[in-house]
């Protein structure tokens, strides 16, 4: 599903944020991405969502190299990738329902279908009774779950989360992680950046570890330099 081959990313004016990273995440597989602050976790996730482009190497989603796709194609790639942000990125002047419905509206789903799917999604994260609320009236954990409901509402095959439990208490964090595990069980590939090592080890999934931009555990051996794969 997701494959990185010798991927490097250098931001202008600084060293390599990622260097020669290779790994594979199969369809329906769940993995944690960990490493110290500044190790390159967010950078790796942004490459999958085409928020940034790799300096070198190949980023494949379903065997398509998305590192060089045209600007016009980017939205369609993103529709296959549900993203959960640490700061939720909700629209605060819209109801919970409208926030969750946004990906479906964008995809042109019919009105009736939207109602059905938004409620199914809110039910999944346990917020069905909050559909008419404004996000500002919800707790941090509830806002995070609205973000998750929005990310999964159009059933993307890939789910990414960047420190989704950053400022939640351990119990809530665990609940959120369990939720991700449920999506994995129905065939979604899930990749979660986190440095909550305790929780990660409890969950017992594949762990990819980054150190100074290099993948030191969980990755694949790099192909010899100069001839990627």
């Amino acid at each position: 599903m997701i494959e990185f081959h010798n991927v490097s990313k250098r931001y202008p004016g600084s060293g390599d944020a990622l260097s020669r990273v290779s790994f594979k995440l199969a369809g329906g597989e769940m993995a944690f991405l960990t490493g110290h602050s500044g190790a390159g976790k967010s950078t790796l996730l942004k490459l999958i969502a085409v928020l940034i482009r790799p300096t070198n190497g190949q980023v494949l989603i379903n065997n398509e190299n998305i590192g060089h796709i045209s600007r016009r194609r980017i939205p369609y790639v993103r529709r296959n990738v549900g993203i959960i942000f640490q700061d939720h990125k909700l629209l605060f002047d819209r109801t919970v329902f409208d926030n969750v419905a946004l990906p479906l509206v964008i995809a042109g789903v019919s009105h009736r279908e939207i109602g059905r799917r938004v409620r199914a999604s809110l039910d999944k994260v346990g917020l069905l009774n909050k559909e008419k609320s404004l996000p500002i009236t919800l707790s941090g954990g509830q806002q995070q779950r609205v973000g998750i409901a929005r990310a999964v509402v159009n059933k993307p095959p890939i789910l990414l989360a960047d420190e989704p439990t950053g400022n939640l208490d351990p119990e809530l964090s665990r609940e959120i992680m369990e939720l991700f595990a449920q999506f994995q069980q129905v065939g979604v590939s899930v990749l979660i950046a986190s440095h909550d090592l305790d929780l990660i080890s409890q969950m017992g999934h594949k762990v990819l570890t980054l150190d100074e931009g290099r993948m030191v555990a969980g990755g694949m051996h790099n192909a010899p330099q100069g001839e990627p794969r």
């Binding site: 928020l51 016009r72 939205p75 629209l91 946004l102 964008i106 042109g108 019919s110 009105h111």
Partner: protein, 307 residues
């Protein structure tokens, strides 16, 4: 992937949603619409007035006449003979004679200087022949050659074409027409800038929203759509406002104008913007609204990229 009916429904939905947004915050929108309406009403109103002037003069257009003032030595009889000769010309429709005594009598009646005239021994008025050209020859060029040939006549002291003023009026109107075009072009440009600026502010206000929509896979077209519809509504309502302003102004002017017309023995009444003109006004206004928002959107949307 998306069926046509869903596609159309989506457009309708965005169209109505943007209208709803505008109605919910009327003040700032009314300002933009008022600026558009007034800016478009100005050249449109001037155009309507010019068209009215054109209509009035068109009624007088077929009324060229040449007045031939005889030399003082020419007797009424000699003038009669000349009138008969002129009457036979191909390009002359009819000829009217004013004898010296008729001219005197008329002057006495209308001027109030009758007493003073009594004191004169001789009748100071010359005989006058008024020549009306036929319809075919009633144009500026032919009439002017006729005028030239009449001037050659020994009996004629002065030949005067009563169309000179018309020619001058036409020149002034032509100038006016060009002026209106220049004005219309400049004001259209300002309308474009006003809409563009309003949309630019709207884009800035919704920066976060645009960023989030891009993050979850919204296409450029999807993001552009509400702003373009907002531009459309600005154009439509600005156009309607300017139409109302023009119609109202013409209505206010029509009373005094028909009074004036009665003084000239005419039943002329002001005509307002016709159907075609109204359609052009609305179409232009909508075009300017759309174009203004298009420019703003294409200049400012690309700059918003999610991080």
């Amino acid at each position: 992937m998306i069926s046509p009916s869903v596609y159309i429904a989506r457009h309708m939905q965005v169209m109505l949603a943007t209208l709803g947004d505008m109605i919910r915050s009327p003040m700032s929108n009314l300002m933009t619409i008022a600026v558009m309406g007034i800016a478009l009403a100005l050249p449109t109103g001037l155009h309507v007035i010019l068209k009215n002037v054109q209509q009035v003069t068109a009624q007088w257009d077929g009324a060229a006449q040449i007045s031939l003032f005889m030399k003082p030595s020419v007797t009424d009889k000699q003038a009669d003979q000349l009138a008969n000769i002129l009457q036979k010309r191909q390009d002359v429709k009819s000829v009217t004679r004013i004898t010296r005594s008729e001219a005197l009598e008329e002057f006495r009646k209308n001027s109030g200087f009758g007493e003073a005239l009594e004191a004169l021994e001789d009748n100071p008025f010359p005989a006058v022949i008024v020549v009306f050209p036929t319809e075919q020859s009633d144009n500026l060029l032919t009439v002017q050659t006729m005028l030239a040939s009449f001037k050659q006549r020994p009996e004629v002291e002065l030949a005067q074409l009563d169309m000179q003023w018309l020619k001058r009026l036409y020149a002034i109107m032509d100038f006016g027409r060009r002026g209106i075009w220049v004005l219309a072009a400049m004001l259209s440009l300002s309308v474009l800038l006003v809409v563009g600026n309003t949309i630019r502010l709207a884009i800035q206000n919704r920066r976060d929203e645009i960023e989030i929509i891009k993050l979850i896979g919204g296409t450029d077209a999807f993001i552009r759509r509400p702003f373009l519809y907002t531009g459309f509504w600005y154009g439509l309502s600005g156009g309607i406002l300017s139409w109302l302003l023009v119609t109202l102004s013409i209505w206010l002017l029509s009373g005094p104008v028909s009074q004036l017309a009665t003084l000239y023995d005419s039943n002329y009444s002001l005509s307002s913007l016709d159907l075609l003109g109204s359609i052009i006004l609305l179409g232009l206004s909508i075009f300017l609204g759309l174009a203004g928002s298009w420019i703003a959107v294409s200049r400012h949307l690309d700059a918003i990229e999610p991080e």
